[in-house]
């Protein structure tokens, strides 16, 4: 991977971190607020089903995680285990797809 691509990954990770900082804060605050009097699955679904706002919010959240986590793991694998090269990058692309699929499945699961 050339230096320019490495720099792009760094910028992508920092930018996604900024998005995540906002998303995690909103997510946690909403959870704390929503369950303060107890909450059932039916109540959650009644608020999220058909809500375009929550669909957009959690789609952004999932995409930010999808960008952020594999790039961070790339550095961890190299610095802790000395693992670099094509095999590692293939694994990370697989992880990216897995996060995207599982994340969007969860988002659509509470929207539809």
């Amino acid at each position: 991977m050339n230096v320019k691509a490495q720099a792009v990954l760094w910028v992508a990770q920092r930018a996604s971190a900024a998005v995540l900082a906002l998303c995690v804060t909103v997510h946690l605050a909403t959870m704390v607020y929503a369950i303060r009097g107890g909450l059932s699955a039916a109540e959650i679904l009644s608020r999220t089903r058909g809500s375009v706002g929550w669909l957009v919010f959690y789609t952004v959240f999932v995409l930010a995680v999808t960008v952020h986590a594999p790039i961070g793991l790339r550095a961890v694998l190299e610095e802790w285990f000395g693992w670099r090269g094509t095999a590692r990058d293939v694994l990370l692309v697989g992880l990216t797809l897995l996060l995207a699929v599982l994340g969007m499945r969860a988002v659509l699961g509470v929207f539809l």
């Binding site: 991977m1 050339n2 230096v3 320019k4 720099a7 760094w10 190299e78 610095e79 802790w80």
Partner: protein, 234 residues
């Protein structure tokens, strides 16, 4: 006091010596006493003894320090002191490390000034209070002692990482209005082996005996590289 000194190469061991205490005694004084009085086979490096040359850095009680300007009073614990060679550099013998890899990385980071003027031209005027000049002043006093390099955990994790000193040098040149190779230098310091691997632990800044903050310079390089990336000039 008892001074335990590393002997041999990487697979060596500590050897204990009894060294008399003196007023205003430096760690280097203690090492010199051992070499001159107790064991002439001890290998160590020093030159100026006044904090200019950067050759006497060692690991003192687990912390990298310049030994000529470190008083024993400051570091001795229970009348004991432990001296080892700098971390992250191959040990040649005893307290002497091979610093060639450290300085090779300065070259890789394009640490050499490259101006456009000749000796026939007039001096280029740099305003003392310009932002570039201020940034250069903050980082230019590096003596190349490798204390920061030894303190850096990223160097330990990634042997190809350029390290705080080389990146700090690159930063002072990137901020130098007279230098003509900024883009080439940014390409040299970007990426996994360069500024983007810095974890901002700030061990280099904590340990630099000259009070330089390589962390700040590395952050500056990240900003410059990101701007070059946005302008599609990297």
């Amino acid at each position: 006091m008892q001074v335990r000194v590393w002997r041999g190469k990487a697979d060596g061991a500590f050897q204990a010596f009894e060294v008399p205490r003196h007023a205003s005694q430096t760690v280097l004084d203690a090492v010199t006493h051992i070499q001159r009085v107790l064991d002439p086979t001890l290998a160590y490096r020093f030159a100026c003894r006044v904090g200019m040359c950067g050759s006497c850095a060692m690991t003192v009680n687990g912390v990298p320090r310049w030994t000529c300007r470190t008083h024993v009073d400051k570091v001795v614990k229970n009348d004991r002191m432990e001296l080892a060679p700098l971390r992250n550099l191959p040990v040649i013998r005893d307290l002497v490390t091979d610093m060639s890899g450290f300085f090779d990385k300065w070259a890789k980071a394009k640490g050499r000034f490259s101006g456009s003027r000749t000796r026939n031209d007039d001096f280029q005027k740099i305003e003392p209070d310009s932002s570039g000049r201020i940034a250069v002043d903050a980082g230019i006093e590096c003596i190349g002692c490798a204390v920061c390099y030894s303190a850096c955990d990223v160097v330990a994790a990634r042997p190809d990482y350029l390290g705080p000193a080389a990146l700090n040098r690159a930063w002072t040149l990137v901020q130098d209005e007279r230098d003509t190779r900024t883009l080439e230098r940014l390409r040299a310091v970007a990426g996994d082996a360069g500024c983007h691997s810095c974890h901002t632990h700030m061990s280099c800044t904590e340990r630099c005996p000259k009070g330089i903050s390589p962390t700040a310079g590395i952050a500056g390089l990240k900003r410059k590289v990101s701007l070059a990336l946005l302008r599609n000039t990297l």
